[in-house]
């Protein structure tokens, strides 16, 4: 601080950004659940990234898997094996790659779409609102699976198609929620003040409406992550994905098909469910911590 350096405006801007980030992190750190959630998420992502270094293709092959068939958890197979003799632990570990990718990207896509359309509809009103909302209703009533199948026919099967198929079908609910909240926020006097002091549409939407609809967006995000992971399994089950790729959804699907529930094969069906629940929970915890950072009234008074 004491050394008088010649700092350009760009450098100053970076310093300021850094300081903002630091303040953000300090505020975030105060929420212990949020930190736990963040650690869980980062841990899951790191594990997913390094999975190929620990698991060989042979171990996941339905014909060449080395383990005993449908074995209970043991020292060699901590979470047991499936009907092909594959280790459930390996399936979950490898499956996290597809599940997390689809879960994050499809959720991100549908939340961004829904938020943009919802805020625009709630802000502009009039014919813009009518047009956007009718479009939203139209997508809302489209059967998700039929749309996804048509998309796959056009775009070819693959992970990207699945992400887009989930992304473009899941946003209408978000759009409706965000529009309703936007209408409530737009009626508040500080919006009138923002317009009175010469703020344009963009200014009002980004500076005043967006931070105030953020809580609902975050809540929606945490719910969506879990449901997109499940949606991926549905689409994979219908053969719209690469069937040789394992994911949490496909593992659940296979376990159900094999009658794991009635046969009491708990080690097969519980772990993928727990994995999905843990990721959703981590998202919820991070989401709530973020909400607390964004909304100063939720912070404890100092």
């Amino acid at each position: 601080m004491s050394t008088p350096t010649v700092a350009g405006p760009r450098r100053l801007a970076w310093v300021r950004r850094g300081r903002t980030l630091l303040r953000f992190w300090r505020e975030f750190r105060r929420n212990r659940a949020g930190v736990v959630g963040l650690v869980l998420l980062v841990g899951a992502c790191v594990l997913a990234l390094v999975a190929p270094f620990f698991i060989s293709d042979a171990e996941l092959s339905v014909t060449k898997a080395p383990g005993p068939l449908v074995a209970e958890p043991s020292w060699d197979y901590p979470l047991g094996t499936d009907k092909f003799g594959r280790s459930i632990l390996d399936l979950i570990w490898q499956g996290s790659r597809v599940s997390l990718t689809v879960g994050f990207l499809a959720t991100f896509m549908s939340v961004v779409l829904g938020t943009v359309i919802g805020i625009a509809a709630g802000h502009y009103r009039g014919w813009v609102e009518s047009l956007l909302m009718r479009f939203t209703d139209w997508v809302l009533v489209l059967p998700t699976l039929v749309l996804a199948i048509s998309l796959v026919v056009v775009m070819g099967r693959g992970l990207g198609t699945i992400i887009i198929a989930i992304g473009v079908t899941a946003w209408p609910v978000t759009a409706r929620l965000v529009r309703a909240q936007t209408l409530a926020v737009e009626a508040r006097p500080f919006i009138e003040r923002a317009r009175a002091l010469g703020g344009g549409h963009w200014h009002v939407m980004t500076r005043h409406v967006l931070p105030n609809v953020m809580p609902i967006v975050l809540a929606r995000t945490t719910l969506l992550v879990a449901s997109t992971i499940i949606a991926e399994s549905t689409l994979a089950f219908l053969g719209l994905s690469d069937p040789s790729r394992v994911s949490w959804g496909t593992t659940l699907q296979e376990a159900r098909d094999a009658g794991a529930t009635s046969a009491g094969l708990w080690w097969w069906i519980v772990p993928p469910g727990v994995a999905i629940a843990l990721v959703a929970l981590a998202f919820t915890m991070v989401g709530r911590a973020l909400e607390q950072v964004y909304n100063p009234r939720l912070r404890e008074r100092r």
Binding site: R125, P189, L197, G198
Partner: protein
């Protein structure tokens, strides 16, 4: 040329039940550096008038007439020009400071908002100006880092005043600036507004239901009833010797100190303000007027010259109490 000239301004809201007139042909003038008070009961159209000045009314409102601000008609301005006039030309101190501040931003950032919108300044320069503005309204500059919920009602109103001053406007419109504040803080806030507009040579338009407050602060007073100006004149005169019975009743509604008799007299006004959808014929005030005469329901009163430089829309200021007008109408 006056800073602000309102000519025959009418505002009509389109509702499901039909057109509702909120402001009906108001003409007012505000010379540069002057202080004008607009008084009236709830629903008389005074806030609608204030919002119409910067075209802040919802799309369901139809505005006719002319609003000349520094020689330019606000109603026919292009959107870009209008945005520039908002706040840099005329700013507003809103009622209810808690709700007019966004709870999720620090107050410093909110005061800086108009500066960054209207002027090409760096964030550091804006921050310096915010500190200066806070000092002017009597708050320590480090309060810029506070959130609205961390401030008291009076402090929040000071923040609103700092915000109104941010872009050096020529006119400040204060819409019930002291409502919801306790009496001591009210007086402080009014003194502060008075001082600041005097020091910065800003014109002021205060809107309030409290005639005493307005008489104390303003040079001239306009009293509104059912969307019309019913009396306009020097503030003291309107408050102390009103020509229109409604202004008189409004002034009487507040007890006067050192006048025991005024406490014992029945005060206030029977009845409710009229429904703007079903205005009474003739003078809209006649059903509640203590001195209504037989011509009142038949004469639509205009602002006629009354005592001195004041004008009042009441047949009693005419020498023949409106008798000739009725004959004219009958013929």
């Amino acid at each position: 040329m006056s800073l602000l000239e309102i000519e025959d301004l009418s505002v009509t809201y389109r509702t499901a039940g039909g057109a509702v007139p909120a402001v009906r042909g108001v003409s007012l003038e505000l010379p540069a550096g002057a202080k004008l008070g607009v008084a009236g009961e709830s629903g008389c159209g005074k806030s609608t008038l204030a919002l119409a000045l910067l075209r802040l009314l919802p799309p369901s409102a139809t505005v006719t007439g002319r609003i000349m601000f520094e020689g330019e008609d606000v109603l026919s301005m292009k959107w870009g020009r209008l945005r520039a006039v908002r706040w840099a030309g005329a700013s507003i101190i809103f009622q209810g400071a808690m709700h007019s501040l966004n709870a999720v931003h620090r107050v410093g950032a909110q005061i800086a908002e108009p500066i960054l919108l209207h002027e090409d300044v760096t964030a550091a320069e804006a921050e310096r100006r915010v500190a200066e503005l806070l000092r002017q309204v009597g708050l320590p500059p480090d309060r810029a880092r506070a959130y609205p919920h961390e401030l008291s009602g009076g402090q929040r109103q000071r923040v609103m005043i700092a915000m109104a001053l941010a872009c050096n406007p020529r006119l400040i419109i204060a819409d019930e600036p002291t409502t919801a504040l306790d009496v001591m803080v009210q007086a402080q806030i009014l003194r502060l507004i008075e001082e600041l507009v005097r020091d910065h040579d800003i014109s002021l338009m205060i809107i309030s239901h409290d005639l005493a407050v307005l008489a104390d602060t303003c040079d001239r007073l306009a009293v509104m009833y059912a969307g019309r100006v019913v009396e306009e004149g020097p503030a003291r005169q309107v408050f102390e010797s009103a020509s229109h019975p409604y202004s008189g009743a409004l002034a009487e509604a507040f007890p006067r100190i050192n006048d025991p008799a005024s406490r014992l007299r029945p005060r206030g006004l029977a009845g409710d303000p009229p429904d703007p959808e079903m205005l009474p014929s003739g003078c809209a005030f006649h059903p509640r007027c203590p001195s209504a005469v037989e011509v009142c329901p038949r004469v639509d009163p205009q602002l006629w010259p009354a005592d001195g430089s004041s004008r009042a829309a009441c047949v009693h200021v005419l020498p023949d109490h409106g008798a000739s007008l009725v004959e004219e109408g009958a013929r």
